[in-house]
Symmetry: C2
Subunit: 190 residues, 2 copies
């Protein structure tokens, strides 16, 4: 069986950047593509970054239990198609899942044997500065995100690893090390 | 608390070389120095490579319960002074222990929270070739070591990680990654 690696953490913490670096540096890991009902952002490619779909089509996937997890975030739906993950793991290949904390909690309930990595910001102040810098969010959206920050941090104890993203290159190196180490882990340990 | 890292595996597998590389590349890890009753080998420095001592002095350490583990290997005694390990961990610094499989088993019984890394050879044939190449052992000694190889491999399931030393640089990189990853591990995980 392959290993399921889940990268999660508060919004705006940099987990998307870390995911991209990990895919570039680690061989033999398959990126799971999420389904979502939100609009594509500038530069995003359908079928590569996300499967973009209508609320109706997303609802069908939920009804047919074809999503490993799904959640509503800021009025939009996000989900992880189950089939790709299970098929890839069964073939002995590792899967990388980058999702929000609510989604990660659902996946962990179904797949506790996965490796759960929580990316955390150095501080609340630093997170706010980053959200403003990336220019994707309105001030109202940033305020809302900062309010949910403490709630998102409360998910930390359910994870196997915490990587503080204080310096991006160091954080990437740590996540790559976790993947390398977990591939050496003995399953039937005491 | 610091983390106790234990590197072990069959005789001649290269764990001493990996230990040295790890100490050179990883900061903030303290090397535990073993006590032994065997003769110093060429180039070994007393108090750095080992505390060399008589059977009588070693016996006193055992009587006073001042060894974390000890074992007789090929008629010589090896042990790990307890005080240094406990004191260093209590100060929040990590400790590296490179010991044989019998010693590692004793330490694990006392300190199950440690990280146990088993270095294994690519094959029995490769191990025999290496023992001959390093020129430290007589043919009789090599034969005896090969007989104990399978016995030593039977300790593997008690470990957290297995690193196959098929290519030294790759093996060192994996052990360094394990140290980096374990430093990110969340202790109160589900």
């Amino acid at each position: 069986m392959g290993i399921l690696f889940v990268i999660s953490g508060p919004s705006g913490v940099g987990k998307g950047t870390i995911r991209e670096a990990l895919l570039a540096r680690v061989g033999d890991i398959e990126d799971s593509i999420s389904a979502t009902t939100r609009e594509p952002r500038s530069g995003e490619i359908p079928g590569k970054d996300y499967f973009f779909m209508s609320d109706l089509d997303f609802g069908k996937l939920v009804e047919q239990d074809m999503l490993l997890e799904w959640a509503e975030v800021y009025g939009k739906f996000y989900g992880t198609p189950r089939e790709f993950v299970m098929k890839t793991l069964a073939e002995g290949r590792d899967v990388l899942l980058e999702i929000d904390v609510q989604g990660a909690r659902q996946v962990k309930a179904k797949m506790p044997e996965g490796v759960y990595i929580f990316i955390s910001p150095p501080s609340a102040e630093e997170l706010e500065a980053r959200l403003k810098d990336r220019g994707k969010d309105s001030l109202e959206s940033i305020e809302r995100r900062m309010k949910s920050f403490l709630d998102e941090m409360s998910y930390l104890p359910g994870y196997n690893y915490e990587v503080v993203n204080d310096e991006l290159e160091t954080a990437i190196h740590k996540v790559v090390s976790i993947v390398t180490a977990e591939r050496c882990r003995i399953q039937n340990k005491d």
